[in-house]
């Protein structure tokens, strides 16, 4: 927005560098370390681990983290509230419920991705509509209302999911439970290719809406008086974020708090202009989730921790700190 913002440009460049470095280094890390030289030489076992097992997973983490952080940013600006993100709002739970329903009634395999994804989209959209209906007021949203609405949606979804698990046989139940923890243990590029258009499309739409999102920072009344059609803006942002989250949850299950931590830290680094903030969330969110996943793969090697557990362990305290810090007036 301003004439010559140097700092956000440099910050964005650095974050892109971090993103690239993560893309190259993360596939080397794991229960069995692989060296870049071996991969370059085409040493069979190293190359196979790098190209077939770890790279698709890293790419998935980069896309998934981007989806979480960018949609967290979208929710936070739209609701004018820093605690809004897919997980705290119950959007992830809604998507998860949709996906679990689909898993349950097609026999629990992840093969029918389109059906699971459709159900997951539907769940995410239903949760978003509920939240909007419950919490949206004229000038932003009260933190307490938003939290309660999110908790209510999450609890209801969890209850139904538990019920479905109770009804399922033990293999199905095990799959569902593992999946609900949020993990990125995929093999192959199919999921990556499938997620790519949703994440790129959603992030591009939010970037295209940067003026409107910036205007929302000055209040809804002000934004409307400058010519923003609030109803259509809300619809676009909620649709973009729900599709991104729905697509991700269908593959990786609900992964919490990335959308909370990343945008919050980036505002301090990059500033509040969505022209820089949205791409920054894309790169940093991806790098963050990839690093978390690399840690999840190595901390208890050869066992793998679902990355959702790790992000929740990091995110829970952060979330509490954010609540207390907000209450004490910064």
């Amino acid at each position: 927005m301003s004439s010559s913002p140097v700092r956000p440009r440099i910050a964005l460049l650095l974050l892109f560098g971090l993103w690239l470095a993560t893309l190259i280094v993360a596939p080397l890390v794991g229960s069995q370390p692989v060296s870049l030289a071996d991969v370059a030489r085409g040493e069979p076992s190293a190359a196979s681990i790098f190209w077939q097992i770890r790279l698709p997973r890293v790419l998935l983490a980069l896309l998934g983290g981007a989806a979480l952080a960018v949609s967290g940013l979208g929710f936070q600006t739209l609701f004018r509230n820093p605690i809004a993100e897919p997980y705290t709002l119950g959007i992830s739970s809604g998507a998860a419920l949709g996906a679990v329903l689909a898993l349950r009634f097609q026999g629990g395999a992840m093969l029918g991705l389109p059906l699971v994804a459709l159900a997951s989209f539907a769940g995410a959209l239903a949760a978003v509509s509920l939240i909007v209906g419950l919490a949206l007021r004229r000038e932003g949203v009260e933190t307490s209302t938003l939290l309660l609405a999110g908790v209510a949606v999450s609890l209801s979804c969890s209850a139904i999911i538990l019920f479905l698990q109770y009804l399922a046989d033990s293999t199905q139940t095990f799959r569902m439970v593992r999946w609900m923890m949020g993990g990125l243990s995929v093999v192959g590029y199919a999921e990556v290719l499938w997620l790519l258009p949703w994440v790129l499309g959603g992030a591009a739409l939010l970037l295209a809406l940067r003026w409107e999102l910036n205007l929302l920072l000055t209040g809804e009344e002000m934004a409307a008086s400058r010519g923003v059609d609030l109803g259509r803006l809300r619809l676009k942002v909620l649709l973009a974020t729900s599709l991104m989250i729905g697509a991700l949850v269908a593959i990786a299950g609900p992964i919490g708090f990335v959308g909370l931590i990343v945008p919050h830290m980036l505002r301090r680094l990059v500033g509040h202009d969505h022209l820089f903030l949205a791409p920054a969330c894309f790169f940093a969110g991806g790098a963050f989730l990839t690093l978390c996943d690399a840690a999840a793969r190595t901390l208890m090697a050869p066992a793998e921790l679902p990355v959702g557990i790790l992000t929740a362990l990091l995110g829970g305290p952060f979330f509490l700190w954010l609540l207390v810090w907000r209450k004490s007036g910064q």
Partner: protein, 260 residues
């Protein structure tokens, strides 16, 4: 003078109650119309209708003869700029960023960066309001008066013919009230802006307004020159409080009459 903005049988209802109207009003090109009245008279509701932020329950609003219904939000914003009274507590932007956002209705959706005309409009708005030295400051660090000036600059950068202000001088000290009033006077005289403002400050409205609209319970009690409205009979009926006119003439000045 030609009519720029008009309301025909305007009515706004909420929860089964009529908050505003029925009301007929013509805002003339280049005039300053001040809306006065007690709390809850519907001043803000009227302003929000006139800016197109509220859709009337009944009646019609026209800009230069064109119905609001045929204008998009952006088209309306190019014609009418609004400075609301209630704003978010925290706005994490710098002064020039807030002013640049006033250019929004002039940006095309495909445009990647602001054009030179946008920067020029921002510069001019900063200069007219006299806040160019503050341009790089975060708006949250400014005083109430400075902040009000920033939002007025943003509305000026919007380059609309009509400027609508809700309680522009509330919470401002005497000096900032003076600065703001003389700014509005300058805008009206040199830039030929049409100004509509709502205020609790009767003397400000008398000094600035070409016409005053006395609004009570959503209806127009009286509409006329300051000398016609700022009279103890009218004010008493309007506010249910006694006033003493301490200076007469075309732009009378009053104080509350406490009977002491």
């Amino acid at each position: 003078m030609t009519t720029l903005l008009s309301a025909r049988n305007l009515e706004w209802r909420a929860g089964g109650r009529t908050i505003l109207g029925p009301l007929n009003l013509d805002v003339l090109q280049g005039e300053c119309l001040a809306v006065v009245g007690p709390n809850g008279a519907g001043k803000t509701t009227l302003l929000r209708c006139l800016t197109g932020l509220l859709r009337p329950s009944r009646g019609e609003l026209l800009f230069a003869g064109r119905s609001f219904a045929t204008l998009s939000r952006r088209e309306l914003a190019r014609r009418i700029a609004y400075v609301p009274q209630i704003r978010p507590e925290r706005v994490p932007l710098k002064v020039e960023e807030v002013v640049m956002l006033g250019r929004y209705p002039h940006l095309s959706p495909l445009q990647i960066a602001p054009r030179s005309s946008d920067f020029a409009a921002v510069e001019e708005a900063l200069a007219v309001v006299g806040i160019a030295p503050l341009r790089a400051r975060p708006i949250d660090e400014l005083s109430g008066g400075e902040r009000q000036a920033v939002y007025i600059a943003a509305a000026l950068a919007q380059e609309s013919e009509v400027l609508v202000l809700d309680e522009p001088t509330i919470h401002l000290d005497a000096r900032h009230q003076h600065d703001l009033a003389s700014l509005l006077l300058r805008l009206k005289q040199s830039a030929e802006r049409t100004i509509v403002l709502a205020t609790h400050d009767l003397n400000l409205s008398s000094l600035l307004g070409d016409r005053l609209l006395a609004l009570a319970a959503g209806r127009a009690l009286a509409l006329g020159r300051p000398a016609e409205i700022v009279r103890s009979e009218v004010l008493e009926q309007l506010f249910q409080a006694r006033f003493e006119v301490v200076r007469g003439g075309e732009r009378p000045v009053t104080v509350l009459d406490l009977g002491a």
